[in-house]
C-alpha cells in the first residue's frame, strides 16, 4: 500500500497525502487499528518537510480518521467503514471533480478516460504512474 504525490501539481502536497489516506481509510483498505508510518518516515520517503506530512496527519486526526498517541504513533481510528451508497456517492463526486479538471484542461473525453484506466491499472499492479 503506497501514497503517491506530485510535487509539481496544483493540489498542495499535504492535501494529496490526506486525500489518499482518507480514501484508503474510508473504503476499508486501511483497517481500524492499522499503524501508519511515523510522520518523519513518511516525510523522508517523500522528500518533504516534516511539517508537511504532519499537517496531513493533523487533518486526518481532525476528521476523526486517525488517532495519534505518544509512543503509539498514528493508527487508523476505529469507525465503521462506508456503506455501498456512501462509496458510490464519493466516487460520483470524485469523478465529477476529475471531469471538471479534464474539461478545464481541454482534454477530450477518450484521453481523460484512458488516463483513469492507466491510473487504476498502475494502482492494481503496485507500480507508480509515470
Amino acid at each position: 500500500m503506497i501514497v503517491e504525490i506530485d510535487t509539481g501539481g496544483a493540489v498542495p502536497v499535504y492535501e494529496q497525502i490526506r486525500a489518499q489516506l482518507a480514501t484508503m481509510i474510508e473504503t476499508g483498505l486501511l483497517p481500524a487499528g492499522r499503524q501508519l508510518p511515523p510522520v518523519r518516515q513518511l516525510a523522508a520517503d517523500l522528500g518533504l518537510a516534516v511539517n508537511t506530512a504532519a499537517r496531513a496527519y493533523r487533518e486526518l486526526e481532525a476528521a476523526g480518521l486517525v488517532t495519534s498517541r505518544v509512543r503509539h504513533g498514528t493508527v487508523v481510528a476505529d469507525r465503521s467503514t462506508l456503506s455501498r451508497t456512501q462509496i458510490a456517492e464519493r466516487l460520483r463526486d470524485a469523478a465529477a471533480e476529475y471531469a471538471a479538471i479534464a474539461q478545464r484542461l481541454g482534454v477530450p473525453g477518450e484521453q481523460a478516460h484512458a488516463a483513469v484506466l492507466r491510473a487504476l491499472q498502475a494502482r492494481a499492479t503496485g507500480t507508480p504512474t509515470a
Binding site: 500500500m1 503517491e4 506530485d6 509539481g8 508510518p37 523522508a44 520517503d45 504513533g73 503496485g126 507508480p128
Partner: protein, 260 residues
Amino acid sequence: MTPWWIIPAFLVALPALAAAYHAYGPISRSRLTAFARWHELPITTANGNQVIRYLAVTRRWRSAGLITGWAVAFAVELPQGRVSFNPLVLFAGWFAGALAAEIHLAIVVHGRRRTASLVPRTPKRYVSAVVWGLLPVGALAGIAVLPGAVAEGTLTAATVSWTALALAIVLVVALVRRKVLLRAQPVEPADVIRADDAIRSRSLHVLSGGGFALAAYCALAALATRGTTEAGVAAVAGLAVLAVGITAARSRRPAPRPAA
C-alpha cells in the same frame, strides 16, 4: 643524512596508500556473496548494484576513518618522541568513518513524482531488542562512573571528560541510527526492498555494536582515572566490551519479507 621526518612520514603514508588501494578497489564477488548469504538475500539484476554500492561506500569511508585515526594517533604520539598506536583511536577513526558512510548513504535525490510505502519501519524489523538496547547500556555505563567518583572524592576533570565523551558518542550514534531507520525507501520491486532492508539491518548492527563498544571504552577510561580499578579487572572488562561489541556488530537478522 636522512631528514628525521622521513621515517614517520613513511609510517603514515604506507598504510594510507594501502588503505586507499583497498578502499577504492572493486567489490569482489566473494564479498557480495558473503553479504547475500549472511542476510539470506537473493541477489538479482535489480538489487546487485544497490548492494555493491553499499559495500563500496561503507568500505571507502571506514577505510578513510581508519587511516585518519592512524594519522591522529601518530601525530599525538610523535611530539612526545615515541611511536605507538592506540587501538582505541584507530577504532574511533574507523567508527567515525562508519558514521560518515551512513550519513552519505542517507542522501537521496527525489524527483517530481514520489511514492512512499505505508509500512512503518521499526527497529525490531532490523535488529534484535538486545542489540538495539546496547547503546543505552553504553550511556548508563558512562553515567554510572560519576556517583562512585563523587562519593569517593576521586572526581577529576579527566573523569568528567571521559564520561562526557561516552555520552556524546551515544548521542551521535543514536541520531545516526535514527537517520538510518528513516532513510528514504522508495517503492520498488520486492527484491530491491529486501536488499534495502538487509542494508539497513547491517548498518544498524554495526552502529549498535560499535557505538556500544566505543562508549563503554570511554566509560572504562573514566573509571581508570579514579585510580581504584585494578589493571587485570580493567583488561578483562575491556575484552568483554570488545567481545560484546563485535558479537553485536556481526550478528544478523535475516532480511524481512516486504510487508503488504
